[in-house]
Each structure stands twice: as structure tokens, then as C-alpha cells.
Symmetry: D2
Subunit: 484 residues, 4 copies
Amino acid sequence: MVTEVKSLNEECGVFGVWGIPDAARLSYFGLHSLQHRGQEGAGIVASNKGKLKGHRDLGLLTDAFKDDRQFDRLKGEAAIGHVRYNTAGSNGIQNIQPFLFQFHNEELALAHNGNLINATTLREQLEDEGAIFHSNSDTEILMHLIRRSQRETLIERVKESLNKVKGAFAYLILTPNEMIGALDPNGFRPLSIGQISNGAYVLASETCALDVVGAEFIRSVEPGEIVIVNDDGYQIEKYTEDTMMSICSMEYIYFARPDSDIAGVNVHTARKNMGRTLAQEAPTAADIVIGVPNSSISAASGYAEKSGLPYEMGLVKNQYIARTFIQPTQELRELGVRMKLSAVRGVVKGKKVVMVDDSIVRGTTSKHIVQLLRDAGATEVHVRISSPPLRFPSFYGIDIQNRHELIAADHSVEEVREIIGADSLVFLSVAGTVDSIGLNFDAPYGGLCMAYFTGDYPTPLYDYEADYLKSLEKEITVQRHEES
Amino acid sequence: MVTEVKSLNEECGVFGVWGIPDAARLSYFGLHSLQHRGQEGAGIVASNKGKLKGHRDLGLLTDAFKDDRQFDRLKGEAAIGHVRYNTAGSNGIQNIQPFLFQFHNEELALAHNGNLINATTLREQLEDEGAIFHSNSDTEILMHLIRRSQRETLIERVKESLNKVKGAFAYLILTPNEMIGALDPNGFRPLSIGQISNGAYVLASETCALDVVGAEFIRSVEPGEIVIVNDDGYQIEKYTEDTMMSICSMEYIYFARPDSDIAGVNVHTARKNMGRTLAQEAPTAADIVIGVPNSSISAASGYAEKSGLPYEMGLVKNQYIARTFIQPTQELRELGVRMKLSAVRGVVKGKKVVMVDDSIVRGTTSKHIVQLLRDAGATEVHVRISSPPLRFPSFYGIDIQNRHELIAADHSVEEVREIIGADSLVFLSVAGTVDSIGLNFDAPYGGLCMAYFTGDYPTPLYDYEADYLKSLEKEITVQRHEES
Amino acid sequence: MVTEVKSLNEECGVFGVWGIPDAARLSYFGLHSLQHRGQEGAGIVASNKGKLKGHRDLGLLTDAFKDDRQFDRLKGEAAIGHVRYNTAGSNGIQNIQPFLFQFHNEELALAHNGNLINATTLREQLEDEGAIFHSNSDTEILMHLIRRSQRETLIERVKESLNKVKGAFAYLILTPNEMIGALDPNGFRPLSIGQISNGAYVLASETCALDVVGAEFIRSVEPGEIVIVNDDGYQIEKYTEDTMMSICSMEYIYFARPDSDIAGVNVHTARKNMGRTLAQEAPTAADIVIGVPNSSISAASGYAEKSGLPYEMGLVKNQYIARTFIQPTQELRELGVRMKLSAVRGVVKGKKVVMVDDSIVRGTTSKHIVQLLRDAGATEVHVRISSPPLRFPSFYGIDIQNRHELIAADHSVEEVREIIGADSLVFLSVAGTVDSIGLNFDAPYGGLCMAYFTGDYPTPLYDYEADYLKSLEKEITVQRHEES
Amino acid sequence: MVTEVKSLNEECGVFGVWGIPDAARLSYFGLHSLQHRGQEGAGIVASNKGKLKGHRDLGLLTDAFKDDRQFDRLKGEAAIGHVRYNTAGSNGIQNIQPFLFQFHNEELALAHNGNLINATTLREQLEDEGAIFHSNSDTEILMHLIRRSQRETLIERVKESLNKVKGAFAYLILTPNEMIGALDPNGFRPLSIGQISNGAYVLASETCALDVVGAEFIRSVEPGEIVIVNDDGYQIEKYTEDTMMSICSMEYIYFARPDSDIAGVNVHTARKNMGRTLAQEAPTAADIVIGVPNSSISAASGYAEKSGLPYEMGLVKNQYIARTFIQPTQELRELGVRMKLSAVRGVVKGKKVVMVDDSIVRGTTSKHIVQLLRDAGATEVHVRISSPPLRFPSFYGIDIQNRHELIAADHSVEEVREIIGADSLVFLSVAGTVDSIGLNFDAPYGGLCMAYFTGDYPTPLYDYEADYLKSLEKEITVQRHEES
């Protein structure tokens, strides 16, 4: 959740509701609880008396919807919304979702959480057939496919189109007549169905959004499913039978809110379990356990419980971390880090500290935190990471497509330890991670996507295949290096 | 620290530095760590080659200083800065500090943390003598006194003026020749001196600001002291001998950052002790202990440790609480609360919960949280408050000057319990609070101001005397009510 | 030019340059001189080393380009720009031009001045073939046609597409390899070619833009022509032979800047001639002649010269008319008018006044001005309009598509006189208008489009035919009424 | 009026109204007509039920009052307002007027048009007596004097204070009980009294503001007078008998709106007369006469009439000159000028042109215009200035306090001609200027201040005496040079 201190970023959250007055405003509150999934743009499209109207803007939800009067335009009993993380080079307002399409014969709004892996191929094909794209987002592709489908009904056109896009996606589609949700054949991204007391239905990326709007959880959307919500209630259909569960493990490790449940497993509980398992795998002779706020608090408390060491608040996160800062000059550079996190001297001074964090990406933040703790008087700093080393790029919607960014991709654990300056460093094992989360799907890793750690991608890589192979040459070097 | 979910607000933080290049920029970083003390305005005045220049604006520090170019105007080796909490009716930019005064024969900048209690009287006197005030702030009074003093030197004029103002104050004054800090005779507000490695000196409201800029703590400014920093180093003098330590207890309970030390006591540790003492005073047969994030986490973990009950993350605070929100309509009103805090169903479901909070002001937030926990499946909710009931107004710089706002001022503890819907409610005792913080000054309550809980104001009330007496009539009714 | 006091609005101006460093910045200055053609949005796309980059925003050019750093992104030796008047309901930023299209195999930017009259038909056809439109602007249509053309070269594809769109258009297209200008077969909108001293070429809606950037006028683009500018110089080709000159007469009467030349005729001179002819057609026994600033000053001075009456400054326009104003309350309503124009009491008091204006749209402004003059002491007010009565809608890019807006469409001249409260009212005749402007093309009205006055549309009306016929029923009533 | 192309700037306009509902909104409209007198800040203070409230901000009136809701705070039946031109170094919001002072025993608002010449002396005295100034404006001085006066009534305190300030001033003061206007003993700045139909009274810098709000002119405030408006009507008193009329001649020549009357003389008429006299003093063998828009149009038409030459529109001013512009690069520098003014080639080509302008300050603008005309084909350009050469600084409220800025201060007319590149150059004589304006007061120059041309300052110079004497040394050189 701490996007400011990590360089791992989720790409978006979606929320939709059908059948309740002032649906756009309800979506605003639902989206607010998904803000951690994307902070660089937000939008809502509402349906009122057969017409769709939308508003979207850059920034946090509260920036994009500053004025109450914006909701006067967004009246109606159905709405879908989106919070967006912008990948590099796509930061224009034209990329903020939901996209609203007004044709002479139909109106549709579309929101997408995920990343397609055959987008480049599809886009080139479509352009060669005369299509014009107006965003850099791969989301627009689905709409071109839907409009070009010759099937009779919208549902049929959507199903046909869903079979052409590959990768990770949770889509929401809104028309004046229905709201549609769709999940990719691997279920990479979470999507849940809820019911509000008065019979209205909600679709949301995480169950925390259901809680916020007072909706009761019905069930998760499953891989290859399409949910159709209209005035007759909701209906679930399959658009493909070729499915295999591969929920993104990073949702449990880092992205999702601790109060959300994914595939029936509470995120906080999963993290606490990871901490407990880590304590078993890597016990440490130390005085206290501390977590890096906020995302690693759960794992740290699990580690403390299992290890019997006291859990202490050794690091404090500044509540006022802004998105844009005056930069320190060269002389004041080290100040930048201290603005975000502070060590509590009274807690760590003279102590051997176990510092639990959920992951290491580039290693720079870990290095700074270790230094903070030492400056505050910690005599030893043992870093314990509640997930395995990140070694492979993600093509399913996490902002890592380059192995150069991953310190563990070309450094051994010992090298990483040395770089970050810790007294010891242990990562949770792949098996320990899978066991701690504890999914039981009939699929590899119990239904988790562990590709970032193992390289076992659950789908072909399509447009990314070449990139991946190229990066492997480097991998081999690393493997050898670590073996030696 | 969570000003958004409480109605207790600190009135300001100050930071000053002398003797380092780019002093204004360093102040920016120092002030950032004091942002929790005031979020409605910020300013910095820098001294360069005998000239003072300032910038100030409404909003958070990062709003007020959005543009790096603002620091081009603020060059120089000394600076003072201020973050401000606006009291009602005083929200214009003319009230943002530091105030900068340019006279034909001297230049001064002034920043103030605290509240004067003879301000109305002084202002009327001064106006009758021809003075013109340009802000509603009582800060300006000191400058009128300084300018009207007939003493020879600036230091003498400042000292004479300090003896005329009554109440709570930590002042910073900057001139081209020196930086001056001054603390009231009771030391209500904290003020610390630090030294940066290269010999430069820092004055700051909390020690966390010293840590952020890499300054080493030298000592706290003591009641009745004035600190003069110039190119010859720093020097401490007394402007009065009539002093008695009365540090605001709410700094330990709620306001200050957990990583700060006040009067040699770490704030986190004090809070944890309060939680421990509370567990002794009010043991509970329950399954888990949870704290209300973020300010009550320390106390809750202390409670858990002492009670032997597991400490769990049962409440999650949304990281993206904005200062301005679209308001829910009447139908969606209950959403507002859930936007800020969520209960973790997986943690609290079916559990008897001890919920630790640091204080109760109006009771509305407590009521909502209890309901959140019950909605998430808690079978019992026992509320434990790590400080005594707030019953008396504060005149020393906390935003409570009206007893009507304090639920405990005219309700018994049992009535409050019923209003917030808890299964049980216990407040920490006054003695337990004082012992947990553990100051040892030769003064009542060991040197703490406990007036908000006891009505024992450490000073005459001057302009507030009449208000206070009037409110007492009500108090008597309450007392009787509680006794019956 | 006074868009604030009239309800006639031009729809856009275009400017392009090829072959000069800092082309975007030059375009900024060129567009500034075309600002009167559109004030609600502005944009520039520049070409640099094979890549196009653009910036566009709502508001005046100086609003859209507030920050000099925007030009750092727009480096390069070629650029096209656009100033936009927003028609109702299309005021989003997605409609601001130039449009920038980045395909996998080519990049194009497109800007358009004019209005297509078969846009609805084309858009529906294209959508039925799978096209997705992202703006409400009809401009996007051309790009869909270009992309769907099967011709070999871009120039051939553009030419084929130009033959499919009907109505009024002056297009600018920019690619990394060339800049293309194209004019509709009737030449409704002006487009000129200029050469900057160093051999670079400019295309602009009006010659005043050539003057501003120091370009020498080469020649006007003629109906049915396409101009291709690249590093080899410029080249003119015809994409159709089916042309007939019909320059919009309102360019001379009202829209264009007086210092511009259109089809070789200076606009100020044309207006002065219209005033002279009007004086011949409608001599008046009066004391002075005054013009309504600023657009009618030329005609008024012509009238004065020919009539021998003194030309006086009887009306003053406030230089600070803003685009948004606090509205007067009902009681203060009449103030609104007086904020824009004032009568000079010292000039008009006791005088019989000839007030020359260029046109009457709704009549409300005229009514207010007549009243202003009477309030200032004019004994008689004789209104003389230097163009014929506006009776028919425009489909070629002026913001009148509704006859209800035109007071002269359903009122006789005598009725209009009564409504505006003038002592007499005379419009310039159609023949007088044509003669005064003095074009000599081998086409009806010497090559002018006089449709707004006569109903003689120079093209079929395509999508607007039905609307037009419906409005005619009303016309018949009016005609009869006037005959009787 | 064209502040953008000249470097002469007025310092402020004032408007006040008493006795009409929604007085603040009426003031908004009144101030709008005075916008030409100051464009860098605006404010209004309204009086409602014994309380004053104000709003002020940087920028044009329409920038400062963007939101209609601002007027909800400014209810009430009396208001004063101000538009401000910022002199260098005083551009903070704290300098925007009216100033609002809230004392414990009275409330006052104050607005000022003019410039004090003993401000430095008074300010130092006041500061030495303990006064604190919060603005750089000399306006604040009067309030300090009023507050320190020992007289019994406010009117008496104001009168006493007015006798201490020297220089040019038209003050408006508002209290809950009355509105006060006051004019300096020389009447440098205009101030008029008007009556609105319903018996309410208006005070305004120019009569054009009376016209805009529908007020009838009663009479001008005269030197040394104070006007008191309250619910009993208005009353005029003298605060000094030591008066001598010296209306600033630049009001007629350049500053005031042509539709205003000053001291009973219409500004447009005065300008036209200056043009006529200039034609007599400096007849020219030429083809056409053109004026520099907008301020010189009146004079040019007068010149044309008297000379018998045709008056033509040879220069066009861009209607969209913004206050902030992207700057041209060095290469494009000459574009800057052309953005503001264009020559009409069709008018001036091949012609001998008389170009009439109202004044020459630095000469740079004149030089550019001459060049523009030559570039457009003028064969000869004869410059005629409808006022004498500006040679001496102004200390009474025009933004020229430095003789270095005045080209005519140290160059002969022939030298100026050469610098601006004209074929001939003639300025109107001092006598011709005085006669053309035609005041008949019993005072030098008929009651005009001609000091900028003659050095005959109508008052002692107080704080500016030394500056002035220093500048004279230079003057002597110039005089000699011109004599030789």
C-alpha cells in the first residue's frame, strides 16, 4: 500500500454498481477504498435514463472529484468507476478510465484492471484494418474488437472479443441496459460480487470496497467468467472453458488492503502467516521485531508471535507524505528518505533488531532503512523478507517489466545483503509463501501466480516472448553466479 | 496525529536553523516532520546578507511550497518556519506565520506555537495607544511590545516583552543578526535545541525534526528561558525566574510524533506505558486487543503485552484520507466513517475485542468504531482509553475552548459507554497517566499540565476567567449527576 | 472581432510552418494573431526528428500555453496549430485541435477550420464499419477516411478522402515528412501561403498571421487545391476539378481582421466600401456618424466620408471585457450591457446620430446600444447596417444553424426597427454588399457565399437538407408578411 | 488606456457607494469601468449591519472576483472598492486595497488613489513611535494618523490626519456609519460625486463609473474637500483652505477613459482638441492621418479634421493582448511587437502618413510603430505627439519617478526623431496643450499640473526633493544641448 516508498505499483482498481439511486456517488466511496491500487487518475461513468455521462481527471480520486456539482451531471442508478496507476509515457487525461464510447447506435463505458500481453499485435492488426486508437492504453483494444464483432447481441460480441485478448484483465462494461464484469482465464486480478441490502449489485476489485458501501459478499468472479447485471438480477456465464487459476501472489504479499479477502483468504491473515512461516524458516537471535510501515506490519507481527520476540514500533511513517516534493539539493539529499520514515530511537537503541519487510525491489529503500535503524542505535539489523526474491518481470499488470530494476535478478542473496548493509538477510521460500497463503485450487502453486519469483509464467508470453528470452541470457549468468 | 478522525488539534509547530547554507530548504524538511502539528498553513522566512525574505501560503507545507523556485528567493544561512493549525475565523493568509516585519531601522520575523491568555487585554491596550493589528493572531502582540519597549538592545526588548504576555508560547524570532527562541514560564509547549554536524544550530518543536535534518539533540529549552543563536554559537538566558514546569500532557497522549522525545521521555514509550498501566487498572476478559490507528497503536500494544492478550490489526486506516471530500448524501451518510477506518473481518469476527483509543472528545468517532467492529462480527467490544476523561477546556493552545464539545464534561462514564455502545468503558486514571509518563519535575503532576482532566490550571486564566467560571455552573450539575 | 458583444462566432483558425527552428514557438505567435477566430481552445503539434509531439488546452492561446517549458517538449522545425471556437456540447479537451494520431506505421496531426455538411452520414457509415470516434468534432472523420484509403501514398490517400467530405474546410496536416494544406471546392474559408525570409513556408487562415511572423504573402490556396510543403519547397495540386468559388462573405463583413487580405481584397477596405455604399443607398439627415467598436469602425468611417457627415467616437468599448463575469442580479441587470460599451455623452448629446453596425443577429445588442445613445442625449438614432439582413442559417462554419436566432428571419425590417427602438433602420443591399467587396470570380455574387442573406447555398445541403426545408415553412410566412 | 504598449501607468481607481442593496456587487460593476486605472489587484469592502467584510486579490477585477459566492460574504448597503496598479516591489496581496482595519472599538476600510510625497518621513516617525506597518503602500500611513489623533470624532481625526499627509490623494473611507471621500489640496486626482436614482450616493475616480451604474453626476470633489455620506445624505466640508487646483494633465492626455468628464471637460473632446491644435501648430504635407490605437484615436481624428487630411485606420490593435506571454526567443524577438499592433498594408502602402500618438516615454514603442508602417509600405512617416515632451519625473501617482526612463529628458526632439526613425517629429506645445484642454481655474496653467513637461511642481517635493535636484544636473546638460 505504500506506493511512495516502493517502486512496485498495481495497475488499477475497478468498482461498479447497478440498481441504486445516486450510483455515481456510491462509486466514489467504493473507489476511495481502492485508491491504493492507483493514484494517478480516476473516473466514473453513470447511466441515467438511457444516457451515459462520465467525468475523469488526473490525480487522486479526491482531486479528480473536487466539486460536488460534478455528481449533478452523473445522476442515475448505475455507474462504473476506475482508479488508475499510470505507466510511464501514458500520463495524459485521455488515458484515464472509464472510457466512454458514444456511437450512433449504442453507448458503452469500459474500465480495465490488468495488462494484455498480445496488445501490440492486436493493435497493429486493428490499425491495419483502419482502426484509430486515441489512448496508449491497451484497454481500448477490447472496444475495437466488440465493435467489429459480427455477433448478434452485445453479450455475444463481448464474449467473442474476450477470447481474442490475452493476459490479465478484470473488465467492467456499462451500457444503459446492463453492467458486465469479465475476468481473464487465469483470474490474475481479483474481482468480487456483492449485494447491497436493497438488492442492488456491486462488482469490485477488492472486498474492502464491498464493506465500505455496506454490500454483502456473494462470491468471487472466477477465471473465464462473465457476469451480467441488469434489472433482472445477475447472471454468470463462461466465455471460455480453457481456464487455470493463477491469482497474482503479489496481491497477498503487497498490493491488496489487509481487510480484503481474496479467493476466500483474508489478506492480513495471509501476511501474518507469511511472517510466522518466515520465523520458522529463519529464526533469529534478536531483541525485538519491527515491521516497515504500513504494508509489512502484519507479517512482522506474525514473525514476532511465532518467534516469541516482542513486536515493537521501531519505525514511524510520516502521515503527510505528499506526491510532489521540493527536492533536496545534493547536500541535503539524505533528508529525502528521512521525510518518509523515522526510526524510534527510544525503541531500537542498543537493540538487535529483526526488520521485516514484504519485498525488495531495487534495494535502495531497504538500504536506507537499515541505515536509519543503525543511526538510531540498533546494534544489529537482521532483514527478513516475507516473500521470495523478485527475479522475473511481470507482464500481468505490475509495474515491473524490466529485470534490470530487480536487484535479486542479478545478485545473490549474499550480495543483496551486503548492498543493503544488513547483518543477515533471509527471504521466505517459494513453498513457504504458497503454504502460508494456503490456496487449494487444482493448479500449480495451489492457484497462485509465482512467476516473478520462479519464472513459471502460467500463459504463453505472446508479444513479450522476445523480451523475456533476451533477459534470460542474463538470468543464466546470475544462476551460475549464485551456484558458484 | 490523525487530525482527520479526531477533533483535537494542536496549534502549530516551529523550526529554525542558523548557520548552514540553504537554510530555508533545510527548514522545509524540518517542518515536514512537524506537519502533524498544523496543516492549514505554512511559511518560511530566510535571512540573506542582512535582508529577510519570506514565503507563506495556505494548506500543507507541500501546497504552500509547490515550486522549487520559491527557494531561490529564500537563499541564506538562517531561516525560521512555521506550520499552522487555523482556529475558526482566522483562516486568511495574513494569519500564516512566520510574520515578517520590515522597519526602517530593523527587520524581524516571528513565529509562535501556543496561545496567549491575556491577548484580548493586551490588544485593547495597544490599540488604545495607537497600535494597528493586521492579523487575528495573538502572535502579533509580541512584536508590538518589542517595538514599544524602550530598552537598549533587541534582547532586552524581547525579554521585557516576554514578561508581559501570559499563557503558552514557544516563540522563534529571526533577525539578520541572530535567531532567538523563547519558552513560556510553564513550558507548556516543547522546544528543543539541536546541533547539525557542521556546527549549525537548530530549534524545533519536536526532536523528530532534529532527526530528520540530522541534528544532534543538545537539550530542551526550559521554562522562562530565551536562547540566542548567532555566529558565535548559542547562549541561554532566563527572562524570568517565576517558572513552574507544566508540559502539556496531551503532547504525550496524542499530539506529538511517537519518535519524538519530550523532556527526555520518548513519546511512543510513554504511550506504551499508558497502555500497560491501563491493562493493570482495567483488565478485561477478551480474545484480542486492537488499537485505533494511528495514534493509539503504541498504547494498544502496551495493553496487549501487559494483559497477555494477543495484539491484532483489527482496524485498518485508509492511507488516502484527503482533507476535502465529496460529502455523502443523507442516504449514504454512514459511508463517510467507513472511508477512514475499516474493520478486518477476518481478525475480529467472533472475537471479544479490547479496543484501545487515546482519548474521547465528542464520542461520535468512538461510537462509529464500536459499530464498525460489531458489524465485522465482534461479539463484545470493550473500550479502554489510555488517558482520563476530557472535562475542562484548554486555553494553552489545544483547540478545545468549549466544554460543550466534551462528552465527558457533562456525562458520566457509564453514560458515555451507553452512547458509544461499548460493552464496557474504562479510562486511565489521572495518577496512572502521570506515572506512566513518568516525569520527575518538582511541580504538580511531576511537571505535567493535567488541566483538561482535573481543572487544575497551572496559571491564572486572565481573559478566560469569566468564561471558565460560567462553564463551571454546568460542571457542578455534572458532578452531582455522577455522584448520584 | 468583438465576439463578446455579438453572437456570431467563427469556428477556428489554423497556422502551420515548415522549415524553421523553434517552429512551435513561431506558431504560437502566428496563432495569437488568429485568436479572434476562436477563443475556447488552442493547440500546437510540432515535428522533431521524425516524432510528433503536441500540447493543447482549453481557453485562450495564452491560457493553453502558460508555461514556457511547454515549448521544450515541442522542439523541431515544423509545426501546425489551431485556435478553436467550441460549439455547444463539445467543450471537452478531447475536441481541442490539432488532433495527434500515432499509428504503428505513421504519425499524423490534423487541424480543421470549417464545418462538414455530410459528417453525420459519414460518421454513421464509418461506425458501422467498426470505426471508433473519440471527439464530437467532425474533424476526426477525415483521419478515418485517410486511414481506410487503399491508395499507395499519403498524398493519394488524402486526396481520395478529401473527395468524400462535403462542406467547408481548410485542413492542415503535419507528418514528420511534410505539411499539407487543403481547401474545400468552394473556398469557403480563407487559407494563405507565405514565405519566411529564410525560405521556410507558412500556411495560415489569414494574412495577418503572415505579417506577424514576417512572412511574405505568396498566394491564396484556391478551391479544390492541396498544398504540399516539405524540404524540397512547396507544391500545389488539385484533388478535384469540380470547384466554384464561394468565399464566406461574413469574413469580410465581420470575422476577419481588418489588416488581413482575403482573395486579394483588404478587409478594412472592403468594410469601408460597404460603409460608403450604405451612405449612398441610405443617406440620412443627421449630425454625426458613429460606429460600434470595434468591428464597425471601418464601415462607419466609410459612411461618414461618403455622406460628408463628421465621424465621431460616440461609443467606447471597455478594454477589459473578460470572458467570465459575475452576473448582475435582477435589479442590476442593465449594468451588464454598460460594462462593455459606453456612450460618450459629450459627443452624442443633442445630436442626430447615424449609428453604423456590421450586422444584426438577435437584435438585443442593437436595442441596448440605441438605448445607451438615447440615455446619453442623442435626439435621433438612425441605425445603418453594413450588410443585408441575416435570414438563413449557415452550415459552413459560422455558429448559426437555427433560424430562430435570427431576428430578421421572421421579422420585417420595420418590425426590427421597432424592436431595437431606432428612428430608422436600413440594411445594405445584397448587390451593394457584393459590389463593395468587389470580387471578380466567375461565380455567383462574384465568388461570395451570400447564403445567410439570400438562401442561395452554393452546395447541396446533405445532412442539413431536412432541417433547412423545415425552416422554410417559417420563411414563407415571413416573406408574405413583408410583402403585405 | 493601453497600459500594455506604454510604460506609463496610473496608480489606482476608487469607487464607493452608500445606501443601496447589494452595494458590493454594484461596486464590482463600477470598478470594472475603472479597470484601466489599475490591473494588478482589486478589492471590495462592504458594510452590513455594523460589520465590515472584505475580499481582495491579485489580478484583474474579474480574476479577483471569480466566484459569485464571494458576494454572499459581502452583503450590505454600503461598499468601497479599489483597482490597483502595483509599483515595483510591492506586489503582495497585503498591498491590495481597500485595507480593512478591525479595532476593538471601531472598524474602518480605506482605499487610496495617488501618491504621498512625505510618506518616508511620516513612516519613519510613526515607526519610531511604535507603529507597525504591514504593507509597503503609503496608504496605511493615513490610518496610523487617524488612530493616533486625539480629536473627538472620526471626522475630526480624519481632518487632522489629512493635514499631515502631502502629495496626491483621493481617499475613500468606509465605516459602518458613513462613507468618507477626501481629495488633496491640489486636486491632482479626479473624484466625482453621483446620485443613483433611488437616492443612494456614489463616489468614483471617473464619471464613466457613474454612467455604468446609472448614477447622475452631482459635482466633482474639489481640492481640500472632504465628503461625508451617511443615511442623512451627503455633506461637504473643507479640511484646509490652503488649496490650488492642479489636475494631472496626463488624465486628459492618456489615462482617463474618453467617455469620462474631468472638471467638466470631456476627455475625448479634450483629446480631439489637442489633435486639432497640433494640426495647426504642425501642419504636414501628407496623404493620410492615423492614430495609435486606442488612446490616440481621438487626437488623430481631431488632427485629421483640422488638417483636412483623411483619417484612416492604418494600425490595428490585437483584441487579445494577454498580460502574460510566452517570450519570443532572441531570433523571434521582433515578433513581440507585432503581436500587439499591426499595420494595415492596404491603407498605408505608398502613402505619406501622419502618425498621431499621445505621448513618447522611452521611444521604443514609437520606433517599432514607425518601422511597422514602413514595412507596410508607408513612404513617409511623420510623427505628431498630442502633448509636450515628457522631461520631468512625476511624484503624484504616475509610474515615472526616474528621468532615465524619459527619452526626452536627455535628448533633443531632433535626437528623438532620429532614434524613432521618423521623417519628422513634432510635439504639441505646452500652451497648446493647456488651451486645448481649456480649464479656467484661477491657477497656473488654468489649473492643470504640467510638471512632467515643465518642471513646475505645484507643491514642495518633500522626500523627493533630493532626488529631483540630483536629476536636474542632467537636465541642464540637455537644455544646453538643445539650445546649441
